[in-house]
Symmetry: C2
Subunit: 323 residues, 2 copies
Amino acid sequence: VNVLVTGGMGVNGSAVVRRLLRDGHRPIVFDRHSDPSLIPAAMRADVVMYEGDVTNLEGLEQLLRSERIEVIAHLAALVGPNAEKDPYSAVCINVLGTANLLEAARRAEVRRVVLSSTKAVWGPITGQYAHPSFRPVEESHPIGILPDLKIYCSTKIACEAVGQRYAEAYGIEFAALRFSAIFTVGRGKGKGPAGIHSRILEEAMAGVPVRVAAGGDQADDLIYGDDLAQAMIKACVAPRLNHCLYNIGTGRLLTLRQFGAAVSKILPGADVEVGPGLDYIGRPVYCLMDISRARTDLGFEPEYSIETAVRDYAGLFSELYPC
Amino acid sequence: VNVLVTGGMGVNGSAVVRRLLRDGHRPIVFDRHSDPSLIPAAMRADVVMYEGDVTNLEGLEQLLRSERIEVIAHLAALVGPNAEKDPYSAVCINVLGTANLLEAARRAEVRRVVLSSTKAVWGPITGQYAHPSFRPVEESHPIGILPDLKIYCSTKIACEAVGQRYAEAYGIEFAALRFSAIFTVGRGKGKGPAGIHSRILEEAMAGVPVRVAAGGDQADDLIYGDDLAQAMIKACVAPRLNHCLYNIGTGRLLTLRQFGAAVSKILPGADVEVGPGLDYIGRPVYCLMDISRARTDLGFEPEYSIETAVRDYAGLFSELYPC
């Protein structure tokens, strides 16, 4: 299958590209920059790279036609603090960009578009869905309401809806994958509180004693990048999509303390201490995902335990950033 | 106050413009077309008209500066079937257009932007909020989820969120007014099932016997155009906005049969019969709005009963379309 990965040089997109390459596919990457720092050097020759902007409809259409793209894994987006401090660009890149991609896909007769979305569309997770009861959150969970929505999740809500509407109006196959908390290479430095797992591991790898003052009792559903990629690729190639929304997580809870213990176990000599308490991010974003729909429809099943994830992350990180 | 009314030649925007003119203001209108057919001829000379497109950021900024705009009533949008059959344009005009307007407002130091929004953001209204119990719907009501959202309401959800984020990030004052079902001149022919009230009245005025087969028992919260305009103007001039969302309806229920009876009472010789049953639109959209927030914060209070609304509509319609 000819798969276009938008945002394929980014944190999540590169995980998809790495897995596509490992599986013997020839991913075509579309990104604003061609900095391949999240792709191992040995793999780079096999990546077809297009530099471009999703706000350019004509450019997208031309690329889809010239590369005979059949499926698009759409991960290009302005995320995190960059989106919050520049809402105008967030709307242009995320919402208009997704509409452009869908419109270009319609014109070029691309069969399917799979959108990278997020649990953040639910806004704050509270009550029975939060600590300590963690009732699993299904795809039908209400989405968040103002004034509690960040610009990033607002744009993702719009993207999901535009995609669903394109599917309905034009017969393009569409699904949005709502990822739970993500643990993957590239989410470390400068990526805000949600990158805490990356920072713990990377500091431990650097031989630094890691002291996290609080938050060790907070559980969350943490998916490893390569499992995220598995889900994205399965959604790209599944014979058919019965739904337009899929939760993608592990369906399991992991506390920050358990994460620290896994790092200590995998890295000989690591010195990690995580203090007690909840809410290491500072907002009620933690949840347990019900992933049964993705299991049934996409054949998705997380392949990594937290220990194998930490081991794989450490190996990839060393490969990307040899000291 | 220098008020810019985007979409001011449209169905809802023209109601705002008429009321601004009646109140002695000098509305500045921005619309894609300068067809003034919803503005009475005697008023047209007092409207400052700019033809333009909200997808043009620079044009907007220039206009805001040259006219020293202080407040924007933003009603320009692609709505109804036009939005559903062209989701790409709906995203460009509604979402990007609103982001452009906010960005231009930020650059030109406009104080406040008031967005025209809709109860449709809630998706289907069911359970205790629907017939027959009609529990009043507050602003905190969950918004709709896929796959039940139309492209129009999806774009409005995004617009609300972008506006709220602009307010937070840049200090622009922002509120979205979520209107209930609307009864106003211009919503008749070709405007789909939600225009049923207009069609009943206009056909009765034309001397045609009106036979609505079913739906007479369905109640809804129906706001008259001039009350919508009252709310919009109050939101534009209120000393301060304590919230970013306001429900704007009547806080009262009216059945389609009661509407028909009002038409019969006001128009001598009208022949209107409305059959029994529910759901004249064909989707569960009916609700009773809790408008206490708008009452408290904006001093909004509906001025029209259904009979005075029908009388005013008939007068305006005759003025606009003399036979």
